[in-house]
């Protein structure tokens, strides 16, 4: 096996034993990037100089026999919505085309303390608004399993590069499913931690009450290692929760005996692809055989999650994106007549259509005369959705659902119809409203060869139970070991 195919935990053993160096590992990844990135197009910016410099520092540590952290020397890709000091951070928007953050996001500070090797910044839907990564102002990212299909979104680049072995792991952000859905569609592990687990300082804000950073990895063990590195309260983010961060690797227990898994009947609608329903039922049967107790549960307000989401998230976005006015950073319209004209022309010229659409929905929902009917109504619906989960977790440890109602769809298939695109998030937004931890893990393939993801949700701060069930499933199946044959099942355009 080539180095780029391995997991972070396997590579750590090789680095520690000094079978390989971090520089060799980084070179292996960049060679892989040269070979397949022209097809996948997952990266917006590559940072090879920085990566090699970081790798040299780590190699010196390993050579000294220092006790190196588990992610030292591990090549990682970062979604381009996370601020990286001195490295352009665009949010895949024209409005931030030239923005170079003067500071690191807290997650970057934490990862740098571990000695990770940053490969580059990944493509995404502009400002994380989308479900296919087609809303990037720069490029279309292709799903490594079928280059004619989308990788999911909004963290489509971060999912695709892990799937394509052009990164060992990556960070994304999840507001309504933007980690879990692309992880499912690209056949990798992706996790949104509990809201407040990870500092949002330096994560460019989309919907502040929903946004959360999380990892994409090749297996559940790597997911636990990345969570260990990025979780924890932070004085720079008042919404980060001050609770102890456990060692998540302690939950990598290959045993679900006695655990209760709930299957919400509302997720198995006629809109769910029957092949996906089959794969989910088969996955749940595996867990049942391994000793878990499975019971059907009801989350009655599930059908209202999308409507609720498309008020709350745009409302928060319309406020957060008011800062892009051409004054402090980014694009500015040249020679405007006056200040208001500068704001309007700057924003109208440099925001993409989906971003404008969400700003419009959000501004409308918060405007005089409509706030109670829309925004407040949505906040009340959010309470009902959250209460469904509270009641369910009185009875079960973990909830299992499909991550996405369909496998990856064709590039261009849903771009003409925003509402149809929004419905891609039907399985992921409910947990976002409740701030729950959720993981998507590979659980098989549909007949066309595209991967299917199993979503496992836990109560707030119950990442440990989610990881345990995910790990047990993974240890007893081989879906996560399958690799796409890039370039043989589709043609890059």
């Amino acid at each position: 096996m080539s180095l780029y195919e391995l997991t972070a935990h396997a590579l750590h053993e090789k680095l520690k034993a000094r079978e390989i160096t971090a520089v060799e590992l980084a070179e292996s990844i960049y060679a892989r990037i040269n070979a397949v990135e022209p097809y996948v197009k997952g990266y917006l910016t590559l940072t090879k100089d920085i990566a090699l410099e970081q790798a040299h520092v780590v190699d010196a540590g390993f050579q000294n026999g220092d006790d190196m952290p588990p992610l030292a020397g591990i090549p990682i890709a970062i979604k381009d919505v996370i601020c990286t000091k001195g490295v352009r951070t665009t949010c895949a928007s024209k409005i931030l085309e030239t923005f170079v953050p003067p500071y690191d996001a807290t997650v970057m500070t934490k990862l740098n303390e571990q000695g990770v090797v940053m490969l580059g910044k990944t493509n995404m839907d502009e400002f994380a608004m989308g479900s296919s990564t087609e809303n990037s102002a720069y490029q279309i990212t292709h799903n490594p399993w079928d280059l004619d299909t989308i990788p999911g979104g909004s963290s489509g680049g971060s999912a695709a590069v892990v799937s394509a072995d052009t990164a060992i792991c990556s960070l994304g952000s999840d507001t309504g499913g933007s980690i879990r859905q692309p992880a499912a569609l690209c056949g990798v592990v992706g996790m949104k931690p509990t809201y407040g687990r990870v500092s949002r300082y330096g994560l460019v804000a989309f919907a502040s009450s929903l946004d959360q950073i999380g990892p994409f990895t090749k297996d559940v063990t790597d997911c636990a290692l990345l969570l260990n590195a990025i979780c924890g309260s932070d004085a720079m983010d008042a919404t980060s929760v001050d609770v102890p961060v456990p060692d998540f690797t302690q939950n990598l227990i290959n045993d679900v005996e006695g655990m209760k898994i709930g299957i919400p009947k509302e997720y198995f609608t006629p809109d769910l692809d029957p092949e996906i329903a089959d794969r989910i039922h088969a996955a749940v049967a595996v867990l049942e055989q391994l000793g878990a107790t499975v019971e059907e549960i009801s989350l009655p307000h599930t059908e209202y999650a999308i409507a609720t989401y498309y008020i709350i998230a745009p409302a928060e976005a319309s406020a957060n994106l008011a800062r892009y006015d051409g004054v402090r950073y980014g694009y500015r319209n040249e020679n405007p007549a006056d200040l208001i004209t500068m704001y309007k022309k700057t924003r109208s010229q440099a925001f993409g259509e989906e971003v404008k659409r969400r700003i419009m929905i959000g501004t409308f929902a918060l405007s005089a005369g409509y706030q109670d009917a829309y925004y407040k109504k949505a906040q009340k619906a959010r309470t009902l959705i959250k209460s469904d989960f509270d009641a369910a977790f009185e009875k079960v440890d973990v909830i299992a659902t499909p991550t996405s109602p369909t496998p990856a769809f064709k590039i261009g298939e849903r771009t003409a119809d925003p509402l149809q695109m929004y419905l891609s998030d039907v399985m992921t937004t409910p947990a976002s409203h409740a701030g729950l931890p959720g993981i998507s893990i590979p659980c098989g393939f549909v007949q066309s060869g595209l991967p299917v993801g199993l979503q496992l949700l836990g109560a707030p701060m119950a990442e440990e139970k989610v990881l345990r069930v995910a790990y047990t499933f993974e240890q007893n199946t081989e879906h996560h070991l399958q690799k796409p044959q890039i370039g043989t099942n589709g043609v890059a355009s």
Binding site: T98, F99, V100, P102, Y103, Y195, G196, S209, A238, T239, V241, D242, V243, H301, Y304, A307, T308, Y310, A322, V327, R328, Y329, G330, Y331, R332, P336, A337, D338, L339, T341, M342, K344, K345, R347, S348, F351, K356, R357, I359, M360, I361, T363, F364, S367, Y374, K376, K377, A378, K380, A381, R382, T383, L384, K386, L419, H433, A434, G435, P460, M461
Partner: protein, 110 residues
């Protein structure tokens, strides 16, 4: 819940500091009307006695057994260095004498 007209779209666009030509206005009016129609689904819910959730935090604070937490986050009032002014201004489209530059907002003739 109301639907939205082209005048409504123009009004909201102005609030959001966006501008659209006639074709774009028509396009957004049709799309927003369709999205708002879907969102109208929430009217099926009886919510008079339901408190709103603005944030998930208070719930988590209770879960963790603390009654006092995220809603009262306060830091010691200690002066700490901020980012260097030149670093922050480095991203500005226009900077002058340590400030962000913008088009004139005060008319000198008054």
């Amino acid at each position: 819940m109301a639907t939205i007209t082209t005048e409504g779209v123009q009004h909201v666009a102005n609030l959001a500091r966006l501008e659209f030509n006639d074709e774009e206005t028509q396009h957004f009016t049709e799309q927003l009307a369709r999205i708002l129609d879907y969102i109208g689904k929430l009217n099926e819910l009886e919510t008079d006695d339901v408190p709103p959730t603005s944030h998930i935090h208070p719930h988590q604070v209770v879960i963790m057994g603390s009654q006092d937490g995220a809603r009262h986050v306060a830091k010691p009032d200690v002066v700490k260095p901020s980012y260097p002014r030149e670093d922050v201004l480095a991203n500005a489209p226009e900077a002058e004498e340590g400030y962000f530059g913008v088009p004139r907002v005060v008319d000198r003739s008054h």
